[in-house]
């Protein structure tokens, strides 16, 4: 029993939080870094173009522009926290659009016309519901295939979702015979404002963000998502069904894409079978900028929201200040690298024996 009684006040293995410098605290929370970056960018453009940039309508326009990207990025946040990735977002969006259009064509209105043909003033809640349901179904199918292939067939998500990216877009093109369809039936959604002055897309995106926040940060589902991304073996040993959970996460990502397809169709009044090809990379950029680790286990919805806004504000600010907007791509590229580098530093400073 002798060694069991040793009491040594100096346990060299213990953490000393009091000694953590401010730098370490910032490193520990990557969201602070990106939020600081966004703040600096906004302040800089506010100083450079106080009239145009800072007016309220500019921010409303910005928020509307990023609404669709916000929706898919919320879904992608979950996927990346599981240490996965979803390249199939464009096919989810486009399939969502195409499914919605095809479903509207099935709703007969009378004398040979369908809900697809009606003008914005003749739309009913039923048409909107049909379009939403069909778009969600389109995204769900992509998400289901992703989830089964990644979780149960154990194909690496990069390639699994690259496969469904191509396949989904192909199916969309087949269904559309390679051409886009225009419909004005959903214009009241994409261009309306149920709450005066705030476009619907902003409200919808906000609702998705709040729902994502609750699901990721406050629910057991979110907790298990982190656990699976951080140490799937540990999750398995406490009885979490890792495969089923991964499937659900990819379903969530697919549904978010499909819903974004509905929003895109309602905003642009047309399908865009070739129009979303970089949405996957934009979403991944936003999520990574927001401090979500590509190695899994770490991330936040608020971070993603900031990550969505940084490229958008840069582009908007460059245009307003008369700088070639292509500088946005250059700037975002380097900010992205910096964000991922911070994530690496954070991991190294944190991980101990």
């Amino acid at each position: 029993m002798s060694t069991g009684r040793i009491q040594d006040p100096v346990d060299t293995g213990d953490v000393a939080p009091a000694r953590q410098s401010i730098a370490r605290a910032i490193l520990a929370n990557p969201t602070i870094v990106t939020f600081g970056a966004l703040l600096v960018i906004v302040l800089a453009f506010s100083a450079l173009a106080p009239g145009l940039f800072t007016q309220g309508s500019n921010f409303v326009q910005l928020a509307q522009n990023v609404a669709i990207l916000t929706v898919v990025s919320v879904g992608t946040t979950f996927v990346i926290i599981t240490a996965g990735v979803d390249l199939s977002i464009p096919s989810g969006i486009v399939l969502g659009e195409v499914f919605a259009v095809q479903a509207l064509k099935l709703v007969a209105v009378g004398d040979g016309t369908t809900a697809f043909d009606v003008g914005a003033d003749q739309t009913t809640a039923l048409y909107v519901f049909v379009a939403v349901a069909a778009a969600l179904l389109g995204g769900l199918i992509i998400g289901l295939i992703n989830g089964v292939v990644v979780a149960y067939l154990r194909v690496p998500p990069l390639l699994a979702t690259l496969g469904t990216l191509g396949a989904g877009l192909g199916v969309a093109l087949i269904m559309q015979n390679g051409v886009n369809s225009a419909t004005y039936a959903l214009d009241p959604v994409g261009h309306g404002a149920l709450i005066a002055g705030i476009p619907n897309l902003i409200i919808v995106a906000l609702v998705v963000v709040i729902a994502g926040f609750v699901l990721l940060h406050m629910s057991v589902f979110g907790r298990h998502t982190y656990a699976i991304g951080s140490n799937p073996e540990a999750a398995r040993r406490v009885g979490i069904n890792v495969e089923r959970h991964l499937l659900r996460v990819y379903l969530l990502g697919g549904v978010a894409s499909g819903f974004a397809g509905f929003l895109s169709l309602s905003y642009f009044s047309t399908t865009s079978v070739a129009g979303h090809s970089t949405d996957n990379l934009q979403a991944i950029t936003a999520v990574a900028l927001g401090g979500t680790s590509l190695f899994g286990g770490v991330g936040s919805i608020i971070g993603t929201l900031i990550g969505v806004w940084i490229p958008a504000v840069l582009k908007n600010g460059f245009i307003i200040t008369g700088v070639q907007p292509y500088w946005q791509d250059v700037a975002v590229g380097f900010v992205l690298i910096a964000a991922v580098w911070f994530d690496q530093l954070r991991r190294r400073s944190r991980d101990r024996g």
Binding site: P17, Y226, V298
Partner: protein, 263 residues
């Protein structure tokens, strides 16, 4: 040569083992990891399971933890025969395991780890993290896991000893009968090892059966109330506290000594 009584009844009583296996065999292809092994662990005792590499310790541990079923033989919990189909089955019978690699989630905090898979809920789908943190803090105080200063930081930033403390405390919170610890001190320094051993003894004093797997024989002798020795897939010796010393344990492990009738 031996006059040492086999541990048929510990301390003169006839207590029922909290968990026991009887005549268990397990083969992996041509490798016969267990050949009719038996093992018993009693409530309120630390039972050490020792043996050389390949003796069948980890296979026996996995059978007790519900990770794999035996090919033959019986598992009993409180004397009643049971069948474990998966680790959750074993957990439902009050058997928890502290794995050698700890199986913690590094990016989650201590409370999230302790309650992982058994989260306290609000509105059915939300987790009640404040309450989980409160109960975790209380359990750490009760168990004397004074190792963790800040329950809010991810366990990745903990030292090895702190992580071991979290892993053992988690098992102690949920185990109602048995805790299996697979080399809990293997990666720790001297002081941290002493703390973990104290923790094991406190858990034992709560009336749980602790199964302690270790290679450090002086430590085994110090910590254990009983020692069972496996060799080539069978139990070859059992010792009560005070009956064994390092030389005798080495003899049993290497096959030079047995006090168990080999069937």
């Amino acid at each position: 040569m031996t006059t040492i009584a086999a541990g048929v009844a510990m301390g003169g009583t006839t207590a029922t083992p909290a968990v026991s296996v009887h005549g268990v065999s397990k083969s992996f292809g041509h490798v016969r990891a267990l050949r009719g092994a038996s093992f018993e662990a009693f409530p309120g005792q630390v039972t050490a399971l020792v043996g050389d590499n390949g003796a069948g310790k980890s296979t026996l541990t996995k059978i007790l933890a519900g990770v794999m079923p035996p090919d033959e033989g019986e598992i009993r919990v409180d004397g009643e025969p049971v069948h474990f189909t998966d680790p959750l089955d074993a957990k439902r019978h009050g058997i928890e395991t502290v794995y050698q690699d700890l199986a913690l989630v590094p990016d989650l905090d201590a409370a999230a780890n302790v309650f992982l898979g058994r989260e306290l809920r609000r509105l059915r789908f939300l987790h009640d993290h404040a309450e989980m943190r409160r109960r975790t803090a209380k359990a750490f105080v009760d168990l004397g896991v004074g190792l963790v200063q800040d329950l809010r930081v991810p366990v990745a930033s903990f030292s090895g000893g702190q992580k071991q403390g979290v892993a053992i405390a988690r098992s102690a919170m949920w185990a109602s009968r048995v805790i299996i610890m697979d080399e809990p001190t293997a990666a720790l320094g001297v002081i941290q090892t002493a703390r973990v051993i104290e923790l094991i003894q406190r858990i034992r004093d709560r009336g749980l059966a602790v199964i302690f797997i270790a290679h450090n024989l002086p430590q085994v002798l110090e910590v254990s109330d009983r020692i069972e020795v496996l060799r080539l897939g069978r139990r070859v010796a059992r010792f009560e506290r005070g009956e064994a010393d390092v030389d005798r344990l080495i003899a049993a492990i290497s096959g030079a000594f047995a006090n168990e009738a080999v069937s």
